[in-house]
Symmetry: C2
Subunit: 413 residues, 2 copies
């Protein structure tokens, strides 16, 4: 965290006026007791912003939430795990609308003030009959404890992901809290990742939308676990003006502090998502510099971050710069091979496109940690870009071999 931004406790309920709750519906399997439905609610009016998946095939809840946000500010978010309600046709839209209307009724809201999210398997009908009856009780159990909600949105995540910060804006302390889930399908342009952010900042709608867009670009759009893009990715931010600060506007005071804090919150969760990716053992930051343009730097960073062969080598603690430079070569960026330098965690592996004289033991040591950097200097210009990536493990493949057939058998009963 930067100097102006301090981490605090409380997760998504840390900011004033936000409460949350979770329940167990047996969505994935009626015989297994686990939290799989969460509700987040602002006790005060808000302005909201959201970023949704860019996948052309997107889930019913994504379409509905996006449409609701065009004509109303969000006061509540209802989320289920265990089923993505994607590729479920008209029935899926009906189910998403039922989740919204039931939540709205329980909280005395307009249906359009509810954002709806689902995460889990694609193509299996949502068991709405197990979800709908639980929503009333969920609304009654809202509290300042954000932990059950963080747990309920998990799918193959191994840990709940939550963070909260405080940042001084003028003479007031503003809080930002968040929960997220990630795991499979983590990719640039977002992933099967959900992130819900609350803040008590007073902020204009325009500034919140711009700040959210920018923070997503600096965080969730720079992570890559397996190069796939989900049908359900969603980031929702609600701001309820309870901190008493002078309203933050696009070019006014407080904007830079607020954006910095929001970006740090999202980057913190982005890193947690990558390092908790399915069967991931390494968090690797690709740092590209010296590119002819920022776009070229981004091309290089993403090509390296998504190369299966590069990711395999990280899993084996192998300082294989040959695979890195070949991904640099096919990235589409302007590259002069004889100028390329590559570093593993700061240790020079490649100088001017050929093996540096660094001892192989030193290079192997540099890639042994569970977190390291890969620095790539194209020595052509000033373009820079960074991406957080992970290794690819045999266990990842094993884990992802048989989801659909197994789930069809489970849900058919």
């Amino acid at each position: 965290m930067g100097r102006k931004v301090k981490e605090i406790e409380g997760g998504v309920c840390a900011p004033e006026g936000f409460v949350a709750a979770a329940a167990s519906c047996g969505i994935k399997n009626p015989d297994v007791e686990r939290l799989d439905l969460a509700l987040i609610y602002s006790q005060y009016p808000t302005v909201g912003a959201a970023v949704f998946t860019q996948n052309e095939v997107c889930a019913a809840p994504v379409r509905l939430s996006s449409s609701y946000l065009k004509s109303a500010e969000p006061r509540a978010i209802i989320v289920n795990s265990g089923n993505a309600n994607a590729c479920t046709g008209h029935g899926g839209v009906v189910h998403a609308r039922t989740m919204a209307s039931t939540t709205a009724k329980a909280l005395g809201l307009n249906q359009r003030e509810v954002q709806i999210c689902s995460t889990g398997i694609i193509g299996v009908p949502l068991p709405i009959e197990r979800i709908e009856p639980k929503i009333g009780g969920l609304a009654e159990s809202l509290s300042r404890n954000s932990e059950p909600a963080a747990e309920a949105i998990m799918t193959s995540d191994t840990k709940p992901k939550s963070v909260a910060v405080t940042v001084k804006i003028g003479d007031k302390k503003v809080k930002i809290g968040a929960i997220a889930k990630g795991s499979g399908m983590i990719n640039p342009h977002m992933a099967t990742m959900l992130c819900f952010i609350t803040t008590d900042a007073a902020v204009t709608k325009a500034e919140l939308v711009a700040a959210t867009r920018e923070a997503v670009d600096m965080s969730f759009n720079r992570i890559s676990v397996d190069g796939d893009m989900s049908t359900n990715d969603t980031v929702v931010v609600m701001a309820n003006h309870q901190a008493g600060n002078k309203t933050i506007t696009r070019s006014g005071t407080g904007s830079s502090e607020f954006r910095e804090a929001l970006t740090e919150v999202m980057q913190c969760l982005a890193r947690k998502i990558v390092s908790d990716g399915e069967r991931v053992t390494k968090l690797v930051e690709i740092q590209v510099r010296g590119a002819a343009s920022q776009l070229d730097a981004e091309r290089v960073a993403r090509a390296v971050a998504n190369s299966k062969l590069v990711k395999c080598s990280w899993n084996g603690n192998d300082p294989n710069w040959g695979r890195v430079i070949h991904a640099v070569g096919y990235s589409g960026a302007r590259v002069k091979e004889e100028l390329v330098d590559i570093y593993f965690d700061g240790v020079l592996a490649t100088q001017n496109g050929v093996a540096a004289k660094t001892d192989i033991g030193k290079l192997s040591a540099a890639v042994k940690d569970s977190e390291f950097t890969v620095g790539i200097d194209l020595n052509l210009g000033k373009g820079e870009f960074n991406v957080w990536s992970s290794d690819l493990s045999p266990e990842y493949v094993e884990f992802n071999r048989e989801e659909y057939a197994l789930n069809r058998k489970t849900t058919k009963r």
Copy 2:
């Protein structure tokens, strides 16, 4: 094979006037005896055509061969496995030139009439001192047996890859022979793949260049094992006019038969390369139709062929159409989710974007074979494209974990 094209024996030496040989130099490891140097030679003057890697980082032999081909027709191809001579700086260029000049001297050719190819690890200096002394003996042992050469160019291939065909052009039988190697880094726009093709056809240079380009686009540019693109990919074709046919020209008689035969030869080898990809258990043909344009169809086919999650599901015999449709969604093509149909080996899995009523057992059976098709109909237009892909196995990842460190240790001795 089509009706006009018949498969025959003899590989790259099947056409009149072509001979080959192989030798063991201990390039990867001086203590291990295996064939790792091959020579192919035309006893008569030729015209030649070649397609090289599009990777910006390309190996010294690729640069040299490409430059030679601009001013001379190729009479010989010298190839080593075990070391790619890529990212090896000026020393690499000197070594590639030595391979060419030594071969030329042994055969009484001009240096520019030799094509040079290397395949294997990137970034390790080529042990030219173990290769150069073997070239003289190689030239003396040239024969009509193509099998040793097919074996010598293998890296992690498990089988040699060779094919030969005959096709009637006018009243003459023309032969085309070929050997290839593939395995890791197999990708659209070619791979660490080498393919050497010989033909006794009489054909103009212009027609040979155009036919080669077209056949590569219909074959090697449509395969995908791991989405990486190598620094060394090369296809070289030599035609020596010994069949006695009327010279084939771009629009003259025989052109369509010749192109069909050349395309079938390359497609046959392309399929062999995919199914022998590193630790591959499935050969999957993605057949896209109904796209708004051919480019859109290609985008969809490549997105599905390269999705790690889709490839994992094939490894597990999982008919996971949800992952297929989500890759369709992020491909960049125009997609109407509610129109998409997906078939596994002809069995309907997805109709109008949602699960078809097909029994899950039937779907699972459809993806159980070592070869099957995935049909995707976007129902939007007439664009079609097909790609050959493979599954992604835990064994692939294990196999690719530690190459560089191990090889550095081996080659340092």
